[in-house]
């Protein structure tokens, strides 16, 4: 059991724009799982990711990958990022500006192989850019290079800090599939910071919610985001994309976890603490929906 989990039991004082916040995380992650860290910005998601990578040293606690101790404040152990066999994909991509796309990949490989690098670039649809410098790429292309580079390391733990935030919806779905494939292919554990419910539902098998420095709900996306305190049998989670006021009502557009657009009528008293971007549960009874075969 011990050697199949990542043990995290740490404390770290964070100095955020809104003052001090103590990050207290005590949880474990099954090795091989694709885990989403979900929560508002400033809650400590990126800090936790950086602690796992070894870039930030916790104030106290333990981080273990299986049996291997990465950090133990009581024994003064703190393994450097270099020794952890991880890959970290940064929010700003952190591509090396002095190297071409191909050189960025080659740099990351533990064992240089031009053949492997070109194959990886082909998988990500980047073949034609292999000789370009990062400054000649679009945001989406940079993101793909950053992901490819993270995979080139062949890490046992892949850490992705909002990997798809800069992409449009189509590209997002395509790359979500690629992350999923890559995760399966590597057999690595993947931990991904995400604000996006779609992404979480599509990719993650396990969700850790972080709220104000503390671990909140934990479980599968269904367990975390579906609400068993409601009897409604048709439950859809999504994010509010638009709120339009019409007559005496509001028409709320919700984009669901499977990228479907749902419109819901809501009243002013329902809307009191809702705004665009909020994650919501839309539910109705099994009696109401009408079913018909798709042509």
């Amino acid at each position: 059991m011990e050697n199949n989990i990542i043990t995290i039991d740490i404390e770290k004082m964070m100095f955020t724009a809104n003052g001090k916040l103590n990050l207290v995380v005590n949880t474990h992650i099954n090795i091989g799982e694709l885990v989403a860290l979900f929560g508002q910005s400033g809650a400590g998601k990126t800090t936790l990711l950086r602690i796992l990578s070894g870039l930030i040293k916790p104030d106290k606690g333990i981080v273990k990958f299986g049996e291997t101790v990465w950090f133990d404040s009581s024994k003064g152990i703190n393994i450097s990022p270099k020794e952890r066999n991880i890959s970290f994909m940064f929010q700003d991509y952190a591509l090396f500006p002095n190297m071409t796309v191909e050189e960025n990949i080659l740099f990351a490989q533990p064992k240089k192989s031009r053949e492997d690098a070109l194959e990886l670039l082909a998988v990500f649809g980047l073949s034609e850019f292999s000789k370009r410098k990062p400054s000649g790429l679009s945001g989406g292309q940079k993101q793909r290079v950053a992901l490819a580079r993270a995979l080139a390391r062949k890490p046992q733990l892949l850490l992705l800090d909002e990997p798809l935030s800069a992409l449009d919806a189509d590209m997002r779905v395509a790359l979500q599939n690629e992350i999923y494939q890559a995760h399966k292919l590597l057999g690595a554990t993947t931990i991904m910071v995400s604000h996006d419910l779609n992404e979480v539902f599509r990719l993650a098998s396990h969700v850790l919610c972080i709220e104000k420095g503390l671990i909140g709900r934990v479980g599968t996306p269904d367990e975390v985001f579906s609400d068993s305190s409601v009897s409604g049998k048709v439950q859809i989670t999504g994010q509010i994309a638009r709120i339009e006021k019409q007559d005496t009502i509001n028409i709320v557009t919700v984009i669901s976890g499977s990228n479907q657009i749902i419109k819901v009528i809501a009243f002013d008293n329902d809307m009191e603490n809702l705004q665009v971007g909020d994650s919501v549960l839309v539910f109705t009874k099994a009696f109401n929906p009408i079913i018909s075969k798709l042509m």
Binding site: V230, S231, G232, K233, Q246, T248, N269, K285, A286, N288
Partner: protein, 132 residues
């Protein structure tokens, strides 16, 4: 949405369908549910739950005569009428609860609704959800 605090008094089951009776201030309401693989722990007699139903599912009647299939009836007093071009929102007082109903403005006009008037608000059993 409308929310009434209730206590479950009876659960009747036939196959996968459940008919739950719950009391609000001594008055019995019924809600029709579909069984889950694991019924939540709060779904049992004696438990407090919220009866939840949407404003759009509340029908209104004045001087109701004859018999009607709808089981859940609330005798209310009209608090406010907010008329839109097509849709109007009526707010009513039912015991200590405020109930909302969204009906067409035409219907409001046909009913000749006025504030402080007594009215019957009705909800079909299959429109009521339970929420703990």
């Amino acid at each position: 949405m409308n929310k009434l605090e209730a206590k479950i008094t009876q659960i009747q089951q036939s196959g996968a369908i459940l008919l739950v009776d719950a009391e609000v201030d001594g008055q019995v309401f019924s809600a029709l549910l579909i069984e889950s693989a694991t019924n939540p722990e709060w779904l049992q007699i004696g438990h407090s739950v919220n009866l939840v139903f949407k404003e759009t599912e509340v029908s209104l009647a004045k001087n109701l005569a004859g018999t009607i299939s709808i089981r859940n009836k609330m005798v209310c007093t009209v608090i406010s009428i907010n008329k839109g071009e097509l849709l109007s929102k009526i707010e009513m007082k039912f015991n200590n609860y405020t109930i909302g109903s969204l009906i067409t403005t035409r219907a409001v006009n046909a009913l000749e609704l006025i504030v402080n008037e007594e009215i019957i608000a009705m909800v079909k059993s299959n429109e009521i959800s339970l929420m703990c």
